[in-house]
């Protein structure tokens, strides 16, 4: 696959971007200020409606975020409704969450012993089912969102099976611990490929042209650094604990030994904090690399996406969003969501031409309900 790619890019038959038919498409966005007001309004309305308004609130937020994304100056439109999300949630709650809860509770009451083999087996099985449904939920909510997104009236579409995506997501997930994490780039590429190749904008499909190999260098740097980090952190905490245990006789506690304990305690906390911070920075760096690579591996007609996300950019996004959430007591979570979405939009470009004349409307997919499953499983899609 890699070899065919290299020959393709070296071959002269690749169409020249400047002469290929179609138009250039610019991707821009501006922060929708109305979302700040909306955050407060939604917060109040959610409270006075006992939380039922959540689904309509989310829809209103999406409408603002979508409208702030412009392709050639014209906005994306979100056409979903709160009612669809509400019904989707009710269906999943009624058909999945409630029966499962009742079943587990009934079983526990009947068997009596929470540690009995049957109860443990059933719970284990349920974890498996939910892990599988996690992938199904991601795919079907993506399908709902694409079907409810239009640009110039042309709808998006996701043309594959959520069940089969869920299955791929499930069995590849099981390989992660077995491979000590080394399957991560391979798995995310595999899933991205399915999702991208199934995505349509009207009659035009996206094409995924990448493979996992280019992700392995940044991932190796990430993994090895993390491994060393864990070793160092364990060494420091282990040594500190050992010093306390060996040198300080609990019966002869002196002022000096107390102080020593405090100092070592702080050393452990500081080490763990530093390790966590470094992990965040490193994983942000890797995620930015992955995002950019996946963008560059995605084609729309004769144009190729281009990602410009950076590690520091993602770290700053996470830190600032964390502060906004904390200081607004969560009320400004729509702003946080918007900033996260727009960061990636702002760092996405489209190089080359898209023949907009040739993109026809996609037939309507029969989707009546919103992403109840994703909501039930607490998946933050948008």
């Amino acid at each position: 696959m890699t070899s065919s790619m290299t020959t393709a890019s070296a071959a002269p038959i690749v169409p020249d971007k400047s002469t290929s038919p179609g138009d250039r498409v610019s991707i821009t966005s501006s922060f929708p200020r109305s979302i700040v007001d909306l955050s407060f309004i939604n917060f109040v309305l959610k409270i006075i409606t006992l939380g039922i308004y959540t689904f309509w609130a989310r829809t209103e937020e999406r409408k603002r975020i979508w409208a702030s994304v412009r392709l050639n100056e014209e906005p994306l439109t979100y056409t979903g409704t709160g009612k669809e999300l509400f019904l989707g949630f009710l269906i999943v709650f009624g058909l999945l969450i409630l029966p499962t809860t009742l079943m587990v509770t009934g079983l526990l009451l009947y068997i009596g012993n929470p540690k009995s083999t049957i109860v443990v087996a059933v719970q284990f099985g349920l974890y498996g089912v939910f892990l599988y449904l996690y992938g199904v939920a991601i795919y079907s909510s993506q399908r709902y969102i694409l079907a409810r997104t239009t640009w110039r009236g042309i709808r998006g579409r996701l043309d594959g099976s959520a069940w089969s995506y869920g299955w791929t997501s499930f069995w590849t997930l099981l390989l992660l611990p077995l491979s000590l994490g080394w399957a991560v780039p391979w798995r995310s590429t595999k899933l991205r490929k399915i999702m991208t190749n199934d995505t349509r904008f009207g009659s035009q499909s996206l094409q995924f042209t990448g493979n996992a190999r280019p992700l392995y260098r940044p991932f190796a740097i990430f993994w090895i650094t993390m491994f060393l980090l864990i070793c160092v952190a364990m060494l420091i905490t282990g040594a500190s604990t050992a010093i306390v245990n060996v040198n300080i006789n609990p019966r002869l506690e002196t002022e000096a030994s107390k102080n020593m304990k405090i100092v070592l305690g702080f050393a452990i906390i500081f080490t763990l904090l530093l390790a966590y911070l470094l992990y965040k920075i490193l994983s942000a760096w890797y995620r930015a690399r992955a995002f950019n690579y996946f963008a560059s591996a995605t084609k729309l007609d004769n144009a190729r996406f281009k990602g410009t996300a950076t590690g520091p950019g993602l770290v700053w996004l996470a830190v600032s969003n964390f502060l906004i959430t904390i200081f607004s007591l969560g009320i400004l979570s729509p702003v946080v969501l918007c900033r996260r979405t727009l960061y990636f939009v702002n760092n996405l470009g489209l190089d080359g031409n898209v023949n907009l004349n040739a993109i026809a409307q996609a037939s309507k997919q029969d989707i009546k309900y919103g992403e109840g499953l994703a909501q039930a499983l607490d998946i933050d899609v948008f």
């Binding site: 309305l45 409606t49 939380g51 110039r152």
Partner: protein
């Protein structure tokens, strides 16, 4: 006012018919009943070659992608009657006039339309809850009384197993026999043919529980600290009272119900799947339930011709100890041991409120009773019962 002056003004926009991603430049004018859309003469796109005649989108049919603000600088419109066709007008002036001509596009109007049914639903839920509360209907109690016996037995096993995990059963044969005789005597006085399973656990706290399915667990502390056998009989009758009113079953159903409702409110986050352990931990009874159990206990004791004074003195002992515990706590000199003991007492009392009033109620009627109570059990039985924990064993499943 501005609407009139703008009636003849033309605005530039882009129209997409929804069949392809191509757009055409259009001129838009405000007309009486809608906006009039004309393909611009300047448009050279292939789509404009269709010779489109001007057409009108009625104000009432217009839909905006986002609620319209007077300060918006552009607007994306669709028509409720025409699938997929969109009109994009990048003009602040146009948005301003449109918000006057088609006020239903404004955010306030849109939100209010959506909100009405939701508010009605919320109000409905609140009034149903209020009604249930005001009429004193206990849904959980209703379900509990309708449960078949084998389901209640299963629930009881669940509760007992979770307690049995940490404590052993007291099984000295003479003690067990003595307890069985007392239990039988109290059961007979209930008269409903109910048969209780009473177990003493090797647990030095002053507490007893009723579990679903006529199961009662008495902690060793109750027997150790009792001055007379009638105290044990009183506690036993009280727990039987809970059983008669199905309080344990009701409590579990209520906790599960509340957990499920919370889940619904949290939009079904599955991580809040009901945890059976926490359900049991929350099992405490309301004041009314305690009074009801007391009333049953008094009736049972009277019918069995056992003195109510035992129950009263048990409550008095608890009250006294909680006072000492509170005093020690205030002084801050409670050792770890007395502290944990005090916590046991406090937690027991918190589930058994207004002890003083209850003692009064039990004793008041006792003094009016003219029948002289007989002995609760023989001296030999009482001695045997006090030694019931001299032998312990793992719980028999």
């Amino acid at each position: 006012m501005s609407s009139k002056s703008n009636s003849f003004e033309r605005f530039a926009g882009r129209y997409s018919d929804g069949y392809s991603a191509q757009t055409q430049a259009v001129d838009i004018r405000f007309a009486l009943k809608g906006i009039k859309i004309t393909v611009s003469a300047s448009d050279t796109s292939p789509a404009s070659g269709h010779g489109m005649v001007p057409f009108v989108w009625a104000y009432v049919d217009l839909k905006a992608a986002t609620p319209l603000h007077t300060s918006d600088t552009d607007v994306s419109l669709t028509n409720a009657l025409i699938d997929d066709a969109t009109l994009f007008v990048p003009s602040r002036e146009f948005c301003h006039v449109l918000s006057e001509r088609a006020p239903h596009l404004k955010s306030g109007a849109q939100r209010w339309r959506q909100l009405q049914p939701i508010l009605l639903t919320a109000a409905g839920i609140v009034s149903v809850i209020a009604l249930i509360y005001l009429l004193g209907i206990s849904i959980a109690g209703g379900i509990a009384s309708a449960l078949p016996d084998d389901v209640r037995d299963a629930m009881g096993r669940g509760v007992i197993t979770s307690i049995a995990d940490n404590h052993r059963e007291c099984t000295a044969p003479d003690g067990v026999a003595a307890l069985d005789r007392l239990t039988k005597r109290l059961e007979d006085s209930i008269g409903s043919g109910a048969s209780y399973d009473v177990t003493v656990v090797n647990w030095p706290i002053d507490n007893a529980f009723a579990a679903p399915g006529e199961n009662i667990i008495i902690a060793r502390g109750i027997i150790d600290n009792a001055v007379t056998a009638s105290e044990v009989a009183g506690v036993l009758a009280h727990e039987m009272g809970h059983g008669i009113s199905r309080h344990p079953e009701t409590g579990i159903i209520r906790s599960v119900g509340i957990a499920t409702a919370v889940q619904l409110l949290l939009a079904g986050n599955s991580s809040t799947l009901v945890n059976f352990g926490t359900v049991l931990a929350q099992l405490s009874y309301s004041r009314d339930a305690e009074l009801e159990a007391d009333a049953h206990a008094v009736k049972i004791l009277d019918t069995a011709n056992i003195s109510r004074k035992g129950l009263a003195s048990f409550f008095r002992r608890m009250q006294h100890r909680s006072a000492i515990a509170a005093r020690d706590k205030d002084k801050g000199n409670a050792s770890d041991e007395t502290q944990s003991e005090a916590d046991d007492v406090v937690s027991f009392l918190s589930t058994h409120p207004t002890t003083k009033a209850r003692i009064k109620a039990i004793e008041q009627e006792a003094s009016t009773s003219n029948k002289r109570p007989s002995a609760t059990m023989s001296d030999d039985d009482w001695k045997a019962l006090r030694k019931i924990c001299s032998e312990v064993s793992e719980w028999a499943e």
